[in-house]
Structures are given as structure tokens and as C-alpha cells.
Symmetry: C2
Subunit: 121 residues, 2 copies
């Protein structure tokens, strides 16, 4: 069926480390053509997220530290959740993606409003 | 019904002029909490688009001119088109929004994958 997160999520995820700088994040977005990058630890656990919208903060505040622009109160979901649930969550928080994690907070994938919108086409 | 662009689009659109600089675009995205800004002429005709993803180009290439990062081959849609059609168009071109224009290319609104995804919640 087409109705849980694992059916739709991108399993290959572009990720970044907390001590990276804004330039690295920008280059990663450019090369990999992505707008949302989960921030992870050495062993791939989710600790934050940085998006192309956060780059606007970096330009406005003139800062090059990822820590200054990333979001640490990151919202996430699980692979077995329904598409309706994650669509509602993203709408409620005005966010365009949710990293998918396992019970140890390891990043398994990412789901975005682009992918959900594609279901209607 | 909930199935044409005008039912869903945001009628209030944040827009910008071609001679603006990247800093202005970044500040606009930050203040208005948007990720896609149609570029318009004096009389509100669509001539391009700049998105938060384009900011990654500005940081990578170290440029402050909007002209260097905006997309001029802008895709758009009309208010009476079906949601399925615009969802398919955005998926095909890997874009997250379409400005809505009238027959004179005047910007009437904008539709995004966030709004379409919200329909499934
Ligand atoms: C309020 S949204 C508005 C723009 C757009 N919808 C987006 O998601 O980027 C922008 C902020 O949401 C944050 N954000 C995006 N995805 C998130 C997630 N899964 N959890 C928490 N914050 C997130 C970004 O770090 C950014 O600071
Ligand atoms: C290929 S997309 C990938 C990232 C994301 N899906 C987005 O729309 O920004 C990024 C590029 O698409 C362009 N773009 C976004 N909306 C567009 C539209 N309606 N028409 C033409 N290009 C568009 C942006 O200017 C940006 O250079």
C-alpha cells in the first residue's frame, strides 16, 4: 500500500555534523539538490535539522556557524506511521520535512511535502 | 470543491523586484516565513522566481546580486487548473511551488507542495 512513511520516504539521506559551517551546508544543498539536511552525531543519531530557509538567517545575521542557524528542537517520525499523520504534523508546525528515525533516534530516511504532494499527481 | 488551484492558493504573495539584492531576499524570507518569492516587474508581471534553495548558490558563489541566483525560466500555472495537474508539474520539474498568473502574466497567488500535502492530512 501507499499509505505509510516507509512506502514513500527517501532512504538515502543527506546528513551533516553539528560542527560543520554554513558554507558546507550550502554546498551540500547545491550539490545534492536538497533543501532539508538532518544534523546527526558520529553514530547517525538525530540531533537537529538545517534547511535552505535557515540559510536566510545566516545571510541576514551574517553568521557562518551551523549552530547559529540550525533547529535543535527537531520534529521526526517513524517508518510505520501513516501518511495522514505526518502530513498533519508538517502542516501543524509549518515544516516541509520530517526525518524518519528508529527507536534509537538513528536516521533511516526523510519524508517531505514534495513527496506527499506527488501522491496527488 | 477542493480541486482547483484557486481553492488552495495563497492570494497574498510576497514578491520582489529584479534589482533587489540577495540580502533583501533573505530578509524577506525570514520576516514573512516563506521559501519561494516570485520576481515581478513594476506592474506585477512574473519574470522569475527566487527560493531559499537559491540562497545556497549565493553562499557558495559568494554573490549578492539577485540576478545571479534567481531562475528566469519560471514555471507557472492558472487559477482554474486542477490540483492534479499542478502536483504533476511540480513533481516533474522537482520544484516546490508555482506562481499563479492571469493571461497577462500578472501574479494572482502562489501554490506550494506544502498546501497540497496538507490536503492529505
Ligand atoms: C517554520 S519553517 C518555514 C519554512 C519551510 N516550511 C521549511 O520547512 O523550511 C522554517 C524552520 O523550520 C525548521 N524545520 C524544518 N523542518 C523541521 C523539523 N523536521 N523539525 C523541526 N524544525 C524544522 C527549519 O530549521 C527552519 O528554521
Ligand atoms: C530544482 S529545485 C530543488 C529544490 C526545491 N524543490 C525548490 O523548489 O526550491 C531548486 C530550483 O528550482 C527553482 N524553482 C523553484 N520554483 C520554480 C518555478 N516555479 N519555476 C522555475 N523554477 C523554479 C529555484 O529557483 C531553484 O533554483
Amino acid at each position: 500500500a501507499n499509505n505509510v512513511v516507509s512506502d514513500l520516504m527517501k532512504g538515502v539521506v543527506v546528513t551533516i555534523r553539528e560542527n560543520a559551517d554554513v558554507k558546507e551546508a550550502a554546498n551540500l544543498m547545491l550539490d545534492k539538490q536538497v533543501t532539508h539536511i538532518p544534523v546527526v552525531t558520529d553514530d547517525y543519531k538525530l540531533i537537529g535539522i538545517v534547511t535552505s530557509w535557515d540559510l536566510s538567517k545566516s545571510i541576514a545575521l551574517n553568521t557562518n556557524l551551523l549552530k547559529d542557524i540550525m533547529t535543535t528542537t527537531v520534529k521526526y517520525c517513524y517508518a510505520d506511521e501513516s501518511i495522514e499523520t505526518v502530513a498533519r504534523m508538517m502542516s501543524e508546525y509549518d515544516i516541509s520535512s520530517l526525518p524518519v528515525v528508529d527507536e534509537d533516534m538513528k536516521v533511516l530516511g526523510i519524508i517531505t511535502t514534495d513527496q506527499i504532494s506527488h501522491l496527488l499527481s
